[in-house]
């Protein structure tokens, strides 16, 4: 582990930027893949052009070529060739923003890359939402009419496609956002200098880029009309876009598996000395639980989607009753992943909440062990509840009651978190900077989302609400409370860590005070229209339901959220360039990442630190969490003011 000092900071040519190179490699490979399929078909005496098969192989080739062009495979190829590669991979280091568009093996750069990609996808998916929300603002078809043609689709098909894309791209954005937080924070928090497998880390990140390209390309390939769930037989009959949807999700899933594996190994193997599991920052626990779900359950959605792809390609019949198949099997496989996946979306967000509350309340996290273990309880019980999405699907009837019991059990460990949070702020000394506002907002919203879960879990009431906007309201509240709000809290909170500058507090507060009420309006509105009879995934609704006003309000709320997000982006861009220079530890946090310079140096800690106390002992006279310089004689009982750079 000798310091490599000779790497200089360069200004890259356009073609050495990984993103550009990858894309350049991708296009010919796509064509070659298509050519091979057509050639083989000609030889077999079939009509040459089969769009499904051609695009499948083309996209597969394209993805591999992208990964090669981006440079993620270089070291592995060398290794296979028996060449020596350094333990800490070195990538060319570029100046400024180009660095984030090029391959890097530094977990902090990769974390920022994840976050950036996540925000881009969030914007795209949000834009889709605003389009279809405009259509839904009034009853009757406004502009997505049946005889309209938009990118080659008629209005209704276009609605279905952007609605489905909104769902899946948002979910992609969420997975990437979770990846961003885990990647950036876990090594810093446990005192590692990087992830366990830096090359795999870069590979997993870059895989998302072609995946996102395939997902968005569906819009131009006939679309698809199944929602993000892709149920057969509808998905078997759907246009070409469907196949690219499956491939895109497959690659995102693969990335998620590899990323999770990396996180687990990092946490288990690379913790600083003295950091036993119950002395890890609480966020690490949630990242751990998340990764366990990611590495296991994700395989099943991959399998389910592959089987449908095979149905489309080879006429197989897993889910086709006339072939002896059964569409219910798909739903079992799909939800076996997709239910645990919802906890992937939120657990790290809840980790951020637990992480920030003590800092802004100047009080220890109430019941650390309970909060830590509740994440695992949620993850484990979360594996046993998947069929609650299928209460009305016509699955085996005897499964309904047991799955109702298991589903409702999840409320218990989630409740432990809520009560512990309230107890943490109770009698604390609270201050309300933007990250704290987002954390408090997140708690209230996630509470709304969580509490709207049990009515779905109780079979008899689910018979009414299944596939209605009540469900839509439920999951927007859980997703906003469990991911969107905490993610913004995290960005504001660690902004000084990755830019060295402070965000603008005024703009941050504007963002919050616009987003919170708008969100309540949107979500409560969705729940109400759902109960009153508004089905999901429809482009038009019956005016007789008497829900026009609420629908209009939901649309307006959607736009307000959009505006608030734009304010946030403006804030980020502006502050990254011209924000006030941050002090080393602006929040007076005890967490290790705040004990080093901002932005964090390339190799995190120049000397491994040692954990000597509990992470959240705010208010305990003389307590120390970590000793940054275990080499030197221990500072004895350090007074609290010895915490580095306490700023007001």
């Amino acid at each position: 582990m000798t310091e490599t000092t000779h790497d200089t900071i360069k200004t890259p040519g356009v073609f050495s930027i990984s993103f550009v190179r990858g894309t350049l490699f991708m296009i010919p490979a796509l064509l070659i893949g298509m050519g091979i399929v057509s050639g083989v078909r000609l030889l077999m005496g079939l009509p040459a052009w089969n769009p499904n098969a051609a695009w499948t192989l083309g996209a597969l080739f394209g993805t591999i070529a992208f990964m090669y062009g981006a440079g993620t495979l270089n070291d592995w190829l060398k290794l296979a060739n028996g060449e020596d590669i350094p333990e800490h991979p070195q990538a060319a280091r570029y100046k400024g923003i180009a660095r984030y568009f090029s391959i890097s093996f530094d977990h902090k750069v990769i974390g920022v890359q994840y976050a950036f990609t996540s925000l881009v996808l969030f914007l795209i998916a949000g834009l889709f939402a605003l389009i279809f929300r405009t259509e839904l603002a009034f009853p009757g078809l406004q502009f997505l009419k049946e005889n309209a043609t938009i990118v080659g689709m008629n209005g209704l098909n276009f609605y279905n496609t952007i609605m489905s894309l909104h769902g899946i791209v948002m979910i992609g954005a969420t997975l990437l956002g979770v990846g961003a937080m885990s990647n950036y924070l876990v090594p810093l928090m446990i005192g590692a200098n990087d992830m366990a497998f830096p090359r795999l880390n870069a590979f997993a990140f870059w895989l998302n880029v072609p995946a996102a390209i395939w997902l968005v390309s569906t819009l131009f390939l006939g679309g698809f009309d199944t929602g993000w769930t892709g149920y057969p037989p509808l998905s078997q009959l759907a246009p070409l876009g469907m196949q690219l949807f499956f491939l895109g999700v497959y690659f995102i899933g693969l990335s998620s598996i590899l990323g999770s594996l990396n996180i687990i190994v990092t946490i288990v193997k690379l913790r600083a000395s003295g950091m036993n599991y119950f002395r890890m920052p609480i966020f690490v626990w949630t990242a751990f639980a998340t990764a366990i779900i990611g590495v296991s359950a994700t395989q099943l959605i991959g399998l389910a989607f592959q089987l449908v792809m095979f149905e489309r390609l080879f006429g197989m019949g897993f889910f086709t009753p006339s072939e002896g198949g059964n569409p219910i099997l798909f739903q079992h496989l799909f939800w076996f992943y997709s239910h645990p996946a919802v906890y992937v979306f939120i657990l790290t967000g809840l980790g951020v909440i637990s992480e920030l509350l003590p800092v802004f309340s100047r009080k220890p996290l109430f019941g650390y062990r309970w909060v830590a273990l509740s994440s695992f309880a949620i993850a484990i019980v979360g594996f046993l509840v998947w069929a609650h999405h299928m209460f009305t699907s016509g699955m085996e009837a005897y499964l309904r009651v047991p799955f109702m019991y298991s589903t409702l059990l999840v409320a218990v460990p989630t409740g432990v978190k809520f009560f512990s949070w309230v107890a943490t702020i109770w009698e604390g000394k609270l201050s309300f900077e933007t990250p704290m506002l987002f954390v408090l907002g997140a708690i209230s919203i996630f509470l709304l989302g969580g509490l709207s879960g049990p009515p779905n879990g109780v079979v008899s009431t689910d018979l009414h609400v299944q596939d209605t906007y009540w469900i839509v309201g439920h999951f927007h509240a859980t997703l906003f409370g469990g991911f969107v709000f905490p993610f913004f809290a995290a960005i504001y909170y660690w902004f000084p860590k990755f830019t060295g500058r402070m965000y603008n507090e005024r703009l941050g507060k504007m963002h919050f005070y616009l987003m919170l009420p708008a969100f309540y309006l949107q979500s409560l509105g969705q729940m109400q229209v759902g109960l009153l009879g508004m089905r999901r995934r429809i482009a038009d609704y019956d005016p007789a339901l008497g829900i026009d006003t609420t629908q209009l309000l939901i649309t307006i709320a959607g736009y307000l959220i959009g505006i608030s997000v734009l304010i946030a982006l403006y804030n980020f861009v502006l502050s990254a360039r011209r924000g006030e220079v941050a002090v080393a530890n602006p929040w007076r946090s005890r967490s290790p990442e705040w004990q080093i310079a901002s932005p964090a140096p390339e190799h995190n800690y120049d000397e491994p630190f040692e954990v000597v106390g509990e992470p959240y002992d705010y208010g305990l006279e003389g307590s120390v969490y970590i000793n940054m310089h275990p080499g030197r004689p221990a500072p004895g009982v350090a007074p609290l003011s010895a915490e580095p750079a306490a700023a007001d």
Partner: protein, 335 residues
Amino acid sequence: MKHLIAAGILVVLVTVGLIFGMGQIRLLPVAASAQAQPIDYMFNLEFIVIVFLFSLIVVMMVYSIVVFRRKRGDTTDAKHVEGNTRLEVVWTAIPLMTVLAFAYLGSWSLGETTRADPKPLEVNVIAAQWVWRFEYPTLGIVSNELRLPVDKQVLLHLWSTDVIHSFWVPEFRVKQDALPDGGELTRDLRITPNRIGEYKVRCAELCGLKHSFMESPVIVMAQADFDAWVAEQTGESADPVERGQKWYTTYGCNACHSLDGTPGVGPSWKGIYGEQVKFTDGTSSVVDDNYLYESIRNPALKIVQGYQNLMPANVAVDLTDDKINDIIRFIESLK
């Protein structure tokens, strides 16, 4: 302690206020079936618990926000409280008991909604892209409206001819998916309508292009009116054209084929009989009985130019040759 008491009183007030407020807004459509009763009972119970828990946590939070603010310039920390195992056990155990109670009540209410009456009226509900067909096997009626006598249990047998659809009448509360091809995958649903009126069955599972519009009337009528309707329906017309017109709607051809010349998902039937029709492979044919029969039985064989192969292959499995003949006579009449 004084803080806890103050916050506790606020929680109670807010809970009561919210429950009262929720009574003022519309939350559920009218209940029109016996099954809706246990379900609405559960809904009300759930709403109360939700409101209480929401108030409990949010009020405590807002109270802290207001009361426990940090003074400007105060850099000291708060009192060091690490946790309290007894409290943790309490707030694990109480929710645990609550959810177990809910699960128990849930099973009870589910049992109520599936309770079978001895002699229900049986109706086959056949869903297809994007129409509903209702067959009354004991009465020999096929219809696009679901007409039901009030206060008598109906046993629906649901299946679909193409993709998954879902049978839902919001006023009845209960919902069930219809799975492709029937047979072993036929699913049952019991409903006892108890309120005369007109409702709509609304397909609740995304089923493609026109899922939004897959709605059909559901009419709950007095037994005497129902009997009169049955008598009217069972007298079948002697005119094949009239019969064909009926099959046109009952078998759902109207979802894709118009009668007035406007193209839909499939070509309009107006004036096609006897004309030339061009196919995507360049060939063409005259529209006669044979061609029509073939394109109904085997739609994928020849695809009309300007259209895609979207007509469901098994759309005609339930059509006898006689019925197809009626349809052809009907198409002929549209010259």
